[in-house]
């Protein structure tokens, strides 16, 4: 089991090293998807490898030359890699409508990687508007046709369904991992879980599922050490993978993460696609009726605050730790509201602002310890 976790960690930490090697060995086309909601299943059905682009752990060297210092880590990091031609092994990039920062970044990808495939996937932001469904349905049709043309492979209903099945299976396995973590607190560390999800965003789902099944068969038999740690839910960190240092720090300080709504966690695996009916319609519904409300969409009809309170209750957590990516404006906009919701429900919460270059983790640790003390006192 440790071996599999460390394999996932290796891939999550060095996704681009892994992918370059993979490409040499397999010769298949790789399509980079900017976060968060590209329907990878369609790319898979066209016989290509869809990959969710990750930030690198390296220092940002070109700095604010083209991406100002007040952009979030993943945008600055990917901007750096694009300018340094480090992503040139990709065969294509797909950019979904997520936020203003990703919109700016996609321009850079399009202008500097001219000889590769590029597609703007226009995902509606006002998901409940009557016009949004036919528009998105049309958009997915166009995306499919464009991928067919680029790959030279026709995407029949059956091949799309087969791909959906591969992805559904992978999501089901990851959800089982999350269930185990929830039911046996302490069995799976937060950093291990996040790395596992991120590795799945990078490697072929079939290979990921195979390793994951093996991992789960070991974990199912294991019992969790009961050490009286405080159970918390992590919330936030849209788009980017929270740093392993921060996740370890939280757990070393005396917390156990029992659930999350992170992108590198619950959010990525939240919904499966139906196997009957029209697959593109199912993909459209997944976006328009998003299972976990997202700060980048508007008038969703569901409420992230309610979702979070419910997540805390069902996982029997004692508190929430927000991981807010510095300069993630959509999330910043939501944060005061989420705090208000948690306060109404009597759920203690704290916030850690995560930066690409984290200055002092010592201070963060002290704050987490104080937070734990507060929860323990409250429990007495």
């Amino acid at each position: 089991m440790e071996q599999i976790f460390s394999r996932f960690k290796e891939i999550a930490d060095q996704p681009y090293g892994y992918l370059r090697k993979w490409k040499e060995q397999n010769g298949k086309k790789i399509i980079g998807c900017l976060p968060m909601y590209v329907p990878e299943e369609i790319i898979h059905a066209a016989g290509m490898l869809p990959v969710v682009l990750q930030k690198s752990n390296e220092q940002i060297s070109l700095g604010p030359a083209n991406v100002q210092s007040y952009f979030c880590g993943i945008v600055r990091s990917l901007g750096d890699m694009i300018q340094e031609n480090k992503l040139n092994f990709l065969d294509g990039v797909v950019s979904p409508d997520i936020c203003l920062a990703i919109r700016g970044l996609s321009n850079m990808a399009r202008m500097r990687m001219r000889d590769i495939y590029y597609f703007d996937l226009l995902l509606p932001l006002a998901v409940k508007n009557k016009a949004s469904r036919p528009f998105l349905r049309d958009e997915l049709e166009r995306f499919k046709a464009s991928l067919e043309e680029f790959s030279g492979n026709k995407i029949e209903r059956d091949s799309l369904l087969r791909s959906i099945q591969v992805f559904n299976e992978n999501r089901a396995l990851l959800r089982e991992l999350c269930d185990l973590r929830r039911n046996k607190p302490g069995l799976i560390g937060a950093a291990d879980l996040s790395s596992t999800v991120v590795a799945g965003m990078v490697m072929p789902k079939e290979e990921h599922s195979r390793l994951l099944a093996e991992l789960l068969s070991g974990l199912r038999k294991k019992e969790a050490p009961s050490n009286g740690a405080v159970r918390v839910v992590l919330s936030g960190s849209l788009c980017e993978f929270p740093s392993r240092d921060i996740l370890d720090l939280i757990e070393d300080a005396g917390c156990i993460v029992v659930d999350d709504d992170l992108y590198a966690g619950g959010r990525y695996i939240a919904s499966d696609l139906g196997m009957d009916g029209d697959p593109l319609e199912a993909i459209a519904s997944r976006h328009l009726d998003m299972a976990i409300p997202c700060p980048t969409r508007f008038d969703q009809g569901s409420d992230l605050g309610d979702y979070l309170v419910n997540l805390v209750n069902t996982s029997r957590a004692q508190g929430v730790i927000f991981l807010i990516v510095k300069f993630c404006q959509p999330h910043d906009m939501y944060y005061p509201y989420l705090v208000e919701k948690l306060q109404e429900a009597g759920i203690p919460n704290m916030m850690i602002e995560t930066e690409h270059e984290m200055p002092s983790v010592g201070q963060v640790k002290t704050r987490v310890q104080a937070y734990i003390e507060m929860i323990r006192r409250k429990a007495k």
Binding site: V75, L100, G104, D120, L122, P124, S132
Partner: protein
């Protein structure tokens, strides 16, 4: 102490804007007494449709600019900080949050009256600006009033643009139904037609003023153009806006005929990128003016809000014109290459000598790629550029010394180039 003599010649007509804006906001504040429906709006929404239904609307960015130019914004931002809004958020959004909090507060006896607006009956947003739509989403949940958000995709190509126009138009039709249900009145299509006639007339006059300002010396500064956006937004489609632009055009024509420049002894003609720094408009134009430099063209003022072929607006097909304008603004925001070409065209038409790129977290779509734009324009036209950091309404992101040192160095570059030429 005597007032220092101002170098930059303000347009007489532009001074009317203050009165016009005050009159507009007084009307909005009286909305309840006058038994009118009140709306709060976020981003470049279709004001035309609201006006056709006689709805009094708050346009929160215009209001932000209005307050920032009057130093009224600090109080509002303080309020938003208090509830946990990060200072990294767009300053218009923070300010708007302050407006919301004041409108909800029980005791307003200590509040400056111009900071107060009545609570809305409904809200309207467009996704062209993601952050303002976020603000809408947040406030709608808090105020629990009906709302409508128009989805405008981030298009980057002409084929996407056409689909975007169709998508927006369908939503405008749905919004009209929303308005009819909300007010219990049928939508006034005749009124909308009349409004569009005036929109076209005012927009054509505005474009003529821009054309006139291509003269040497240029009779207007970019800030005159920015100030004109006030009447262009809140008075859109009214006789007031048409009259305003008529008067403006007459004054500008007069200046051109007499060869009067906005800046005495004009030596350099500059392009301004992004939103203005409202609280430094005077100081910056004086600083540049003292070196014979004038900022005369920009994307916000010269490429948006029906400044692109306004003569083509067809009042018989109002929704097409409105949808196209919305989709167009969003495309200019979304596509750096398209924007670069537009800037190039402005540089040629206005015989620009240099680019001043205002970089600000408050308008992110204008930010990434500013260096690429400088490099491309330098390559294509041999025109240099400089980036300055600032914010439209938040002085904590601005430093006089730093900006002025950068501008001085930039002016030296321009001078050296002029000598070499």
């Amino acid at each position: 102490m005597t007032q220092p003599v101002k170098l930059v010649r303000r347009l007489e007509t532009a001074t009317q804007v203050k009165g016009l804006m005050k009159r507009y906001y007084d009307g909005l504040r009286r909305g309840r007494e006058d038994d009118k429906t009140v709306a709060w709006t976020y981003g470049p929404v279709p004001f035309e449709l609201l006006r056709a239904m006689d709805i009094r609307f708050e346009h929160l960015e215009s209001y932000g600019a209005y307050l920032a130019a009057r130093q009224g914004q600090e109080h509002l931002k303080e309020l938003s900080n208090r509830v946990g809004y990060s200072p990294d958020i767009c300053s218009y959004a923070r300010l708007t949050q302050g407006v919301h909090m004041l409108a909800e507060s029980k005791d307003t006896t200590q509040v400056r009256p111009e900071l107060l607006v009545p609570k809305p009956d409904f809200m309207l947003a467009v996704t062209s600006c993601h952050l303002m739509a976020n603000t809408y989403d947040f406030q709608r949940r808090a105020l629990k009033v009906p709302g409508f958000v128009i989805d405008v995709p981030f298009t980057k190509s002409m084929s996407d643009f056409k689909r975007s126009v169709a998508h927006v138009k369908r939503q405008l039709e749905d919004f009209i139904v929303f308005l009819e249900e909300l007010t219990g009145r049928p939508f006034d299509h005749d009124r909308l037609r009349e409004i569009m006639v005036k929109v076209r007339e005012a927009a054509m006059l505005r474009v003529e003023c821009m054309k006139l300002s291509q003269s040497t010396p240029s009779p207007m500064t970019i800030f005159d153009h920015f100030i004109c956006l006030g009447p262009m937004h809140v008075w859109r489609g009214t006789t007031e806006s048409v009259e305003y632009f008529k008067a403006l055009k007459a004054e500008v024509e007069q200046r051109v005929a007499n060869k009067i420049g906005a800046v005495p002894d004009e030596k350099y003609r500059l392009y301004w990128d992004n939103l203005p720094i409202w609280f430094k408009v005077g100081r910056l134009s004086e600083k540049l003016g003292s070196a014979g430099a004038n900022l005369i063209a920009g994307i916000y003022t010269h490429c948006f809000f029906y400044s692109h072929e306004p003569e083509k607006i067809d009042p018989d097909h109002p929704l097409d014109a409105i949808a196209e304008e919305l989709a167009y603004i969003t495309m200019v925001f979304s596509n750096v290459e398209y924007r670069t070409d537009m800037i190039q065209k402005l540089c040629e038409d206005y015989r620009i000598n240099g680019l001043v790129m205002h970089s600000s977290r408050t308008c992110q779509p204008m930010d990434i790629g500013q260096m690429d734009i400088i490099n491309t324009i330098e390559k294509r036209l041999g025109i240099p550029g400089v980036v300055i950091d600032g914010d439209p309404t938040d002085p904590s992101y601005y430093s006089d010394a730093q900006t002025e040192t950068r501008l001085e160095a930039f002016l030296e570059v321009l001078q050296a180039r002029k000598k070499a030429a």
